[in-house]
Symmetry: C2
Subunit: 311 residues, 2 copies
């Protein structure tokens, strides 16, 4: 099978979408854009062996994840995804079936979130599977929510539990697109990020961009069942703080609005629980332990390391 | 060095751009969009060993190419590039210097074409180097020029010579962004494509989308010096027809407008010569040889092949 046969196969499976003026099969796609709205853009590359293991993963879940991680980034701005382009580097042997299964997973989550797949680039090589998705989207409500904007006294709120995503959630998570839009309507979301690197690492990014610190409360951190099920000697709390790819949202809201969000559990319509994890403080990055003492902690999570040994 | 240190390094090197509301360092970038214009989007993945050889290529040229191939796609719609996002899969050893050199090449061609680098995804793995760029842009003049729209009797016009790009041009070509915009102002460009796969292959794509055929004239095909310098037993004409990555534009214009373009050489201000290669015909894909006979030809060019042996 050649890339062109595959592109024909894809074109037959892509439905018309009111936003798409030109879909796959031309030099670029052309997407209708509403007057006055800026364009959000985000990209993510998934790599065999590092972001997924091909041997024991359904390729449909890999395709799903490749798009969903980008939808999660759009969610973190309280945006609405509009269109996606997909690049793949396929193995030469077995590439056809793999390409079709990746596409099935991608197109299913695209349909769920009304995101048009409008183009891509199909390659074959002797290297491992690599897949890159770029999503464009538009802001909702009062505009994109940045990582900056959290202030001391604001509550740290999350849309779910943390830790142990490697047991499954890293492939099957729901990008919090609808939840973010609803939060953006309900309260003033002062800052937001999605947890891809790890709870403490991403909270630290948010603090850096906001120019403040954070004080997490050990007794409040929602630890997932998966974090408790991990059998590697680390504590469930460690997993919740340092494992990545939960793809829950972390947000900053005023204490008053946080209280309302939690008391009324305003995302219950989505089957989502809201948790308070602590509060933003002027400086430092610390955990209040169960005995009431406060200890500084290091932000931890997944970091891509590449040395400079040739440089 | 970690991805975060690299992202800080990149952020220090990215100048403010009037179109960019949020640049690298948040969950998505935010790009200002002019009212009423749709959004063009295109993506391309370059792979070590297939699109470039890392051992004997300056990484700056690889970074340059990764963006320039996308600019060429935007050019093929007569569009104006606006912003780019860049994903890389870096080797763990020597990744830092490589990342910096890729960025230098990218940012230089970005500046040349007033394209803002607004975000990306930085990964390290044990596989070969992979780099993916997505560019968004906006249409110019009367709107995007499609691959469809060529009609029998139209001239086949090209912006340069073909063949032998492997000797250098595949890395150093100028994406014909300005030329395409000028052509779009000067005449009715009925259909357009950029030559990435190969002259005959891409002309064939244009014919398929337009629902017509093409008759190339052997004596008119502009064969590059590089095509003549290739020492592999194939004829210069074969190289011109089948080698890929010239990144010249192929367009369809009426015979009258084609005549004017060529006689007046209306792209001379860019140092670019225009050539007539033949004409579009109702059907078939053929070459008129120097003795006046007409023979059907097969479209040839680079095709990514991946079999279905596991499927």
């Amino acid at each position: 099978m050649s890339e062109f046969a595959y592109i024909r196969w894809v074109r037959q499976r892509i439905a018309a979408h009111p936003r798409v003026l030109v879909g796959p099969g031309d030099d670029t796609a052309v997407v209708r854009w509403p007057s006055g709205l800026p364009c959000l853009i985000t990209t993510d590359m998934l790599l065999q062996g590092s972001c997924f293991l091909l041997e024991n993963t359904d390729p449909r879940l890999i395709g799903r994840k490749a798009l969903a991680v980008n939808l999660s980034d759009i969610a973190a701005m309280a945006g609405k995804p509009v269109a996606a382009v997909v690049s793949v580097a396929l193995p030469r042997v077995g590439g056809r079936r793999l390409a079709e299964e990746l596409f099935e997973g991608l197109s299913q989550v695209a349909a769920e979130f009304d995101t048009a797949i409008v183009g891509g680039d199909t390659n074959a090589w002797t290297g491992p599977l690599a897949i890159n998705v770029t999503v464009i989207g538009e802001p909702t409500g009062s505009g994109p929510v940045r990582r900056s904007g959290a202030e001391p006294g604001d509550w740290i709120v999350a849309t779910g539990e943390f830790g142990g995503s490697i047991l499954g959630k890293h492939l099957t998570f729901t990008p919090r697109v609808r939840e973010a839009q609803r939060l953006h309507e309900l309260v003033h979301v002062k800052a937001m990020i999605d947890v891809s690197d790890g709870l403490s690492a991403d909270l630290h990014h948010l603090c850096e961009e906001s120019g403040c610190g954070a004080l997490l409360d050990e007794s409040l951190i929602p630890i997932s069942a998966a974090a408790r099920a991990m059998q590697d000697g680390k504590s469930p709390l460690d997993h919740a703080l340092a494992d990545g790819e939960d793809f829950e949202l972390l947000l900053a809201v005023s204490a008053a609005e946080g209280q309302r969000l939690l008391q009324e559990q305003l995302l219950a319509e989505f089957g989502v629980s809201l948790y308070r994890l602590g509060e933003f403080v002027p400086q430092g990055f610390a955990l209040r332990t169960s005995d009431g003492s406060v200890k500084q902690i290091e932000p931890r999570g997944y970091v891509h390391e590449f040395d400079g040994s040739s440089g």
